[in-house]
């Protein structure tokens, strides 16, 4: 019993408290590009976006609204999308979630999943549209090729949210 509450009073470094969410989102962006296989179609879920949504839905007060800009910039650099895609879309997602959660007073698990699913679908479709309209360095095949990836992302989001909660327990005193 004592061991269980031993960590309650201990101080945590600010780097751990503030840095963990940012580091995990960046790691999520980086992870798909580390997979040592050459994928012939988008297969791996956009883990960076899912981590961002997981943290945002878990801790609404954690970040200012503009956090999507630096994190999105890193995501664009790492994933090879045209720079600005994730910057714009992630910020828009955060603004939309912000305005939605003002209206929703009671929130539960299912609503979080619904919000995250809508965000994942929206961002994937919009980034596809960006690349089809402006992209000159690739991308922009048929939209149906994104379907397996989107489905996988929606189904695995609860797993990511659970990891965020676990990391949250680890990072906070």
């Amino acid at each position: 019993m004592k061991a269980r509450y031993a960590r309650l009073g201990r101080a945590r470094s600010p780097l751990r408290v503030r840095g963990t969410p940012i580091a995990t989102v960046m790691l999520g962006s980086l992870l798909p590009s580390l997979i040592p296989a050459v994928a012939l179609s988008p297969a791996v879920p956009p883990l960076g976006l899912m981590m961002l949504l997981g943290w945002r839905l878990l801790r609404p007060e954690l970040w200012p609204l503009w956090i999507g800009l630096p994190l999105g910039f890193f995501d664009d650099i790492v994933t090879g999308h045209p720079v600005g895609t994730a910057m714009c879309l992630w910020t828009m997602v955060l603004i939309v979630i912000d305005s939605v959660s003002i209206r929703l007073i009671w929130r539960d698990y299912w609503q979080d999943w619904l919000i995250a699913s809508a965000a994942i679908i929206g961002v994937t479709a919009m980034s596809w549209l960006f690349m089809k309209t402006f992209g000159s360095g690739g991308g922009g095949g048929p939209l149906t090729h994104q379907l397996p990836q989107v489905l996988l992302s929606v189904l695995t989001f609860p797993l990511v949210a659970r990891q965020c909660a676990r990391l949250d327990r680890w990072r906070l005193p």
């Binding site: 040592p36 090879g80 600005g84 955060l94 980034s127 000159s136 090729h145």
Partner: protein, 338 residues
């Protein structure tokens, strides 16, 4: 659970301003990011320096993982080779005996080929390899089909160079960092390759479909001349890919196009080779008159001017040299000097 009410700061003036400012920054930033995306249409390899530095950091991780995966992937092959070693040995020895004579014949044919080519004044098609490397990772979460190569500009890799494996074409270099480079794969929908049918030279255009296959459309034929089983090779038109690199084999026919499967599967090839772009390799080849680059339109009329006075005076040798390296400024300065 009711969410924490941080977003409504109440009467705290400072918190109100902070919230307002964060909204302003976010919305301005989103609009600026949208403009960045539009600008990136003109420069697909934008922020290449940043991309390259991240790639440098992740390169050892991906390379190690990749070699690990390849080892594990080949384990079954190694094991089965051990099991059937004896019988295979006998069969292979017979095969070597049989192929030896054909190899000698092929050598003779090769020599004859070289002689005939020299007779015709054709450029040598070998010797255009810049470097060889491995594909270590790819954009598996994005809709662009880009693979990462573990060699870069330090080994001579440059933007636009074609990349091929032993089996066939893989793609072209999108940008090159010091020790890494990104390759736009053949199967990306932005990668257009001029091809011809290997059997009878019907020209076509291959374009990726983003799902591991490419579509081939005939350039000038009525209807669809292609049939399943047709093999396509590069035609050399356009100046990037040199001719006769195997590209794809047609799997089925849909309307006015053929759906083809690339001969080199980038998920399975181990070693790839970066080649010089076709036109620059041609210009480099000794004994061949350098073709004027298509962009420099005013160059051809200026070129005879410095060569004309050459028989009269031996001096204008330096101006021709500066012509070759200096571009348009050398051309305009050349004629008034003699």
């Amino acid at each position: 659970m009711a969410p924490p009410r941080k977003r409504r700061p109440g009467y705290d003036r400072k918190a109100q301003y902070g919230l307002f400012a964060s909204y302003v920054i976010a919305i301005t930033g989103a609009i600026a990011a949208l403009l960045l995306v539009i600008v990136s249409a003109a420069d697909p390899a934008g922020f290449a320096v940043l991309r390259a530095s991240v790639a440098e950091v992740t390169r050892p991780i991906s390379a190690t993982l990749r070699s690990l995966v390849l080892t594990i992937g080949n384990l079954d092959e190694v094991a089965s080779a051990y099991i059937s070693a004896g019988g295979q040995n006998v069969a292979l020895r017979r095969q070597v005996e049989a192929t030896r004579t054909r190899l000698i014949e092929a050598d003779a044919l090769k020599q004859e080929n070289i002689r005939l080519k020299r007779l015709l004044g054709l450029a040598d098609e070998e010797g255009d390899v810049v470097a060889s490397g491995r594909l270590i990772a790819s954009t598996s979460s994005g809709s662009r089909r880009i693979a990462r190569l573990d060699i870069g500009s330090r080994r001579g890799v440059e933007t636009g160079m074609p990349v091929r494996a032993a089996e066939g074409l893989v793609g072209r270099v999108l940008w090159a960092g010091l020790n890494t480079a990104d390759i736009l794969l053949l199967v990306d929908s932005e990668n257009v390759v001029p091809v011809r049918r290997a059997r009878d030279n019907i020209p076509g255009i291959s374009r990726g479909l983003d799902d591991g296959t490419v579509e081939v459309r005939a350039l000038n034929a009525e209807g669809n001349p292609f049939k399943p089983g047709d093999v396509f090779v590069t035609s050399g038109i356009g100046g990037i890919y040199r001719p006769n690199i195997p590209v794809a084999v047609a799997a089925r026919v849909e309307g006015d196009r053929a759906i083809a499967i690339p001969l080199a599967n980038p998920g399975r090839v181990e070693l790839v080779v970066v080649q010089r772009t076709f036109q620059s390799a041609e210009a480099r080849a000794p004994g061949i008159v350098a073709l004027p680059p298509p962009t420099a339109a005013p160059a051809p009329p200026a070129q005879p001017a410095p060569t004309k006075p050459a028989p009269v005076k031996p001096v204008p040798a330096p101006p021709t040299a500066s012509n070759a390296t200096g571009g348009t400024t050398g051309n305009s300065a050349g004629p008034p000097r003699p």
